[in-house]
């Protein structure tokens, strides 16, 4: 089976630091794939390589391939902005644009791409907020500041903003680590619904979260991919002893 995203001998560096080592991974379409592993193992770097966000940091370097729908996003002549439109990202800390209201936050990407038609902007705002399960909570005060709503709502606003530009893949870098259990449950429900239309890759420190929502789980350690497989297999009967030690908390 060819994945939506395929990494081939992917290596990533921060200067001399070799952060990702020869990772071959095939991320299936319309599924949730969780990436787990201890701090500093390269989880976030790995997903940042999937939409060419890694290279925005000075001194970084990537070798190998990241193939999305059959095309290597690192091939010469590829427009990294177009890659990022196709592969959206949501970060650990909710980061709505603080000077914009809710509506403007959602349509910011479209406006940046030159869209000026109010009808299209209105429809996109509503559709994206509905997709992000936030519409009912904010529809009566779309002009309120993007940072005036709760943390969980802000994170869903960021998801709505990412969805507004109609990506095919959504990368989520610990999207719930700053949220309480109720807000976390809402995001998890949302991700579960979104996988019908999108391919989702989530980095999480919360193993129960990976077990709850992911169809596939990848375990990384010291920049290497130790094990990748169906989540049920990883959490019921992992192949590698290192995986077993990590998920049962007997690490170190």
């Amino acid at each position: 089976m060819v994945g939506k995203i395929e990494t081939k001998r992917l290596n990533a560096y921060f200067g001399d630091v070799h952060a990702i080592k020869d990772v071959d991974l095939s991320i299936p379409s319309n599924k949730i794939t969780a990436i787990i592993g201890p701090s500093g193992c390269g989880k976030s770097t790995l997903i940042r390589c999937m939409n060419r966000m890694h290279e925005v940091v000075r001194g970084t370097r990537v070798t190998g391939k990241v193939i999305i729908d059959g095309r290597d996003i690192y091939a010469p002549g590829t427009d990294s902005v177009l890659v990022r439109r196709k592969v959206g990202m949501v970060f650990q800390k909710p980061n709505p644009f603080p000077t914009m209201n809710i509506y403007d936050n959602v349509v910011a990407g479209l406006r940046l791409n030159g869209e000026r038609d109010w009808k299209i902007l209105d429809a996109t705002a509503e559709r994206s907020l509905k997709l992000a399960a936030l519409w009912d909570e904010v529809k009566d005060h779309l002009d309120a500041s993007g940072v005036s709503i709760s943390g969980g709502q802000q994170q869903r606003l960021c998801i709505a903003r990412a969805l507004a530009v109609e990506p095919e893949v959504l990368l989520l870098d610990e999207p719930c680590s700053a949220l309480d259990p109720i807000a976390t449950a809402k995001i998890e429900d949302l991700l579960f619904d979104l996988k019908r239309s999108y391919t989702l890759v989530i980095v999480t420190h919360n193993m129960q979260q990976a077990a709850r929502i992911a169809d596939y789980t990848a375990f990384m350690y010291l920049g290497e991919l130790v094990e990748f497989g169906e989540t049920t297999k990883i959490f019921e009967n992992p192949e590698k002893e290192l995986t077993e030690k990590y998920i049962t908390g007997r690490f170190g």
């Binding site: 193993m207 129960q208 077990a211 959490f235 019921e236 009967n237 992992p238 995986t243 077993e244 998920i247 049962t248 908390g249 007997r250 690490f251 170190g252």
Partner: protein, 218 residues
């Protein structure tokens, strides 16, 4: 030192309780068979006492397993272990219950002598006891290799049970006074055959606990 000390302590306590229950199951069946062979009511009383203790252990272990699941969220081998514990305690409990049933037959038999020197019943009892002993050892030592012998013995137990059934019917047909004790033999043989089945269950669950692979005896 391994992290998650509290979790580790909980699991070790659970291991200890389950091993204790396994040992009691083994002891119960050995004593029950002896009580029936010798028609010894005191031994039978001892079996009934062990069965009650096992019942209490069953409740205690189940409660502890649920606590570990709720509070420690075990995964991988730990999860398989706790899941297996929840299942095997029912097998142990049933073995204890059948041992008690045999002990009750001993009580009911009173001083009615066996109608012939017992051969087949001690034989099936010996096999069922060995199966329990081996499956308990496989379970406690996490030794999948031992389970093979358990499965082999089970086929023999089944054949012997059929044999006993036919033999006892013949005796009862010959002499209606033997119907009472004949039924007791049938009951005891049936209980032992069921005990052997539970020993097989324990072995199957041990394989899953250790390897993560499902094994079901044909």
């Amino acid at each position: 030192m391994s992290p998650r000390k509290a979790y580790q302590t909980e699991l070790e306590e659970l291991d200890r309780l389950v091993d204790l229950m396994a040992g009691k199951a083994q002891n119960a069946i050995a004593l029950a068979v002896k009580s029936f062979e010798k028609l010894d009511p005191e031994l039978a009383d001892e079996v009934i006492k062990i069965d009650s203790e096992m019942y209490q252990l069953n409740i205690k272990i189940e409660k502890k397993c649920l606590e570990v699941i709720a509070l420690q969220s075990p995964v991988a081998k730990d999860l398989r272990t706790v899941g297996t514990y929840l299942k095997v305690i029912t097998d142990f409990d049933r073995i204890g219950r059948y041992a008690r049933d045999i002990a009750e037959v001993t009580h009911r038999s009173g001083d009615k002598a066996h109608f012939k020197p017992l051969v087949s019943i001690p034989h099936i009892a010996d096999m069922a006891s060995r199966m329990v002993e081996m499956s308990v050892k496989a379970f406690i030592d996490r030794d999948v290799g031992l389970t093979k012998d358990v499965f082999e013995l089970e086929d023999k137990v089944d054949s012997l049970y059929d044999e006993i059934f036919r033999e006892v019917i013949t005796y009862m047909m010959e002499d209606s006074k033997k119907i009472g004790i004949g039924i007791n033999y049938m009951l005891v043989a049936r209980y032992l055959e069921r005990i052997a089945d539970h020993a097989c269950n324990i072995s199957e669950r041990t394989i899953y606990m250790v390897t993560g692979e499902r094994f079901v005896k044909e």
